[in-house]
């Protein structure tokens, strides 16, 4: 259900809630999952993003998001210049993600040092977004709730262990999704919670030897 400031907002740099604010948020999510401002980004724009994105500042909004700018940040307008100063190199291509893909979709590949990640997501209207894939795993991330992304060994009991730790921390889960590369390989878990994910939980999870990588993503206002 829509919240009050979905209706009386978002406060944003124009001109389009989907092609500008939503595009910015896809960049923000890529940056958050990478864990910092990327040094290099390759962005593929699909459908309407590629066709009408130019006049909507879609590219500038995505680059701004990669730099950590929120949808209401006036620096979005000059994000190409800001990227130069921040040492972010970027390139854009038109891509075809297929008939089934949402018309406002993008694939963002970002790199920082030895780290790299690839996300696919869509801007689904009114500035709301949805990530569908992270590094080839199926996910469900909206950014509107505090989110935890955990890459773990796909061994029996990991899901129970994680959910147990979440329960012990008193966290109420809104959504949870698990996808794995193959039996006994690796599984990516995305968890959206009703409240901010506690630092102690992140620290505890980080100590487990079956956890390979983890990101905590704050919800946007």
């Amino acid at each position: 259900m829509a919240r009050l400031f979905d209706i009386l907002g978002p406060t944003m740099v124009g001109p389009s809630s989907s092609h500008t604010a939503g595009a910015c948020r896809l960049g923000l999510l890529a940056q958050a999952i990478l864990g910092g401002t990327p040094e290099r980004a390759r962005v593929g724009l699909h459908g309407s993003f590629s066709m009408t994105g130019e006049g909507h500042g879609t590219k500038r909004a995505i680059v701004g998001g990669l730099l950590g700018f929120q949808p209401d940040d006036p620096r979005l307008r000059n994000s190409f210049a800001e990227a130069g100063e921040a040492g972010l190199e970027y390139e854009f291509d038109a891509i075809d993600l297929g008939e089934e893909a949402h018309p406002n979709s993008a694939r963002l590949e970002v790199w920082l040092g030895a780290e790299g990640t690839r996300i696919v997501g869509s801007s689904i209207g009114g500035g709301r977004v949805r990530l569908d894939r992270i590094d080839g795993f199926d996910v469900r991330v909206t950014g509107s709730l505090p989110t935890l992304v955990v890459l773990a060994d796909d061994v029996p009991g990991t899901i129970a262990l994680i959910t147990g730790m979440l329960a012990d921390s008193g966290l109420n889960l809104a959504t949870m999704r698990v996808d794995r590369t193959g039996r006994g390989e690796r599984a990516l878990m995305t968890i959206e919670a009703d409240h901010e994910i506690p630092e102690t939980l992140v620290a505890d999870l980080g100590e487990q030897d079956w956890v390979h990588w983890m990101r905590r993503i704050s919800a946007w206002a």
Binding site: I7, L8, G14, E54
Partner: protein, 309 residues
């Protein structure tokens, strides 16, 4: 937020509170935020809205396409001719916000960027002549939010979901409800104002030229403000629209769902697909869009999937 206008009014009545307080309580419950915090954020939202109106009125700068920019200023400088001073100013204020939006200025999507001009134009114009206080304006925004929440739930507030009726129509209904409440209207009259607004905007298509949030959006925001004020005037005079607001909202949802995809923000039909609209798209470098528009014109429904929202 509420599932229906009726549920909202019921919640207010049963707790012996007002319409804005019922919205505030619902938002507190859903988000855990405090009432003061929510009211403060609305005040900040109003500041952004006001700044956008002022910036737009004060600037002759054109958007990158040249389709908008400076028109609000021109209209304001021309002054009222056929309309009274308030209505004339309301038109230019609505256009001002959309012009700021088109050149990547800061706006409040209320409920969307494409309809961002309506609520501020109506509220900031009438607050002067009606003497509403800043706190009352916050109450008005809460009422507007309550209406928008119901429409988002029962129908749609996105052009891609329900055409322009869902965007400027929703914004106008929000503004009409706010004005009616602030003028001392009863909850019933607030509901009437919503019904009066939407009945006059049913079926309005979303057909942005070159896929840009400029034409006709800027001018539709302007006339939507007039619709909203007219609806509030009728509701406050005690006129009754015999179909309840919730049922009018449901009709809007139904019309939106049945609307051809060309008229739902794909830029493949309506004004966008006219010869003049195609020429503007071509000049804006959107030759692929023009090809689709031409194909759509001969093939009818089908391939139209692309567009902003």
């Amino acid at each position: 937020m509420f599932l229906s206008i009726a549920e909202w009014f019921e919640a207010a009545e049963s707790r012996d509170s007002s319409l804005p307080v019922a919205v505030l309580r619902a938002e507190e419950k859903e988000t855990g935020a405090g009432g003061d915090q929510i009211r403060e954020r609305i005040r900040e939202t109003l500041v952004v809205m006001r700044t956008a109106v002022d910036d737009g009125l004060g600037s002759s700068e054109e958007s990158p396409t040249g389709l908008t920019g400076g028109r609000a200023k021109r209209l304001a400088e021309a002054g009222p001719r056929l309309l009274g001073a308030d209505f004339s100013a309301m038109l230019s204020r609505a256009i001002a916000t959309l012009e700021v939006n088109a050149r990547m200025g800061l706006i409040v999507a209320a409920p969307t960027a494409g309809a961002a001009g309506v609520v501020p134009a109506v509220l900031f114009t009438l607050e002067g002549s009606r003497g509403w206080s800043p706190d009352e304006l916050v109450d008005g925004m809460l009422v507007a939010g309550g209406v928008g929440g119901v429409i988002a739930h029962r129908a749609s507030i996105a052009g891609a979901g329900g055409g322009c009726q869902a965007e400027t129509g929703s914004a106008a209904a929000m503004a009409a409800a706010a004005v009616t409440y602030l003028e001392g209207g009863t909850p019933e009259q607030v509901g009437q104002a919503v019904a009066f607004t939407l009945q006059g905007m049913l079926g309005l298509i979303c057909d942005p030229v070159a896929g840009l949030v400029e034409i006709p959006c800027a001018y539709r925001n302007a006339t939507a403000g007039i619709q909203a004020t007219a609806a509030a005037e009728m509701a406050l005079a005690g006129l009754e629209f015999p179909i309840p607001a919730d049922e009018v909202i449901d009709v809007m949802g139904e019309v939106g769902r049945k609307m051809d995809v060309r008229y739902r923000e794909t830029a493949l039909g309506g004004l966008a697909a006219t010869p003049a609209g195609q020429e503007i798209a071509r000049r804006a470098g959107m030759s692929e869009l023009v090809q689709l528009q031409r194909r759509g014109a001969t093939a009818g429904e089908g391939s139209a999937r692309f567009g902003p929202s």
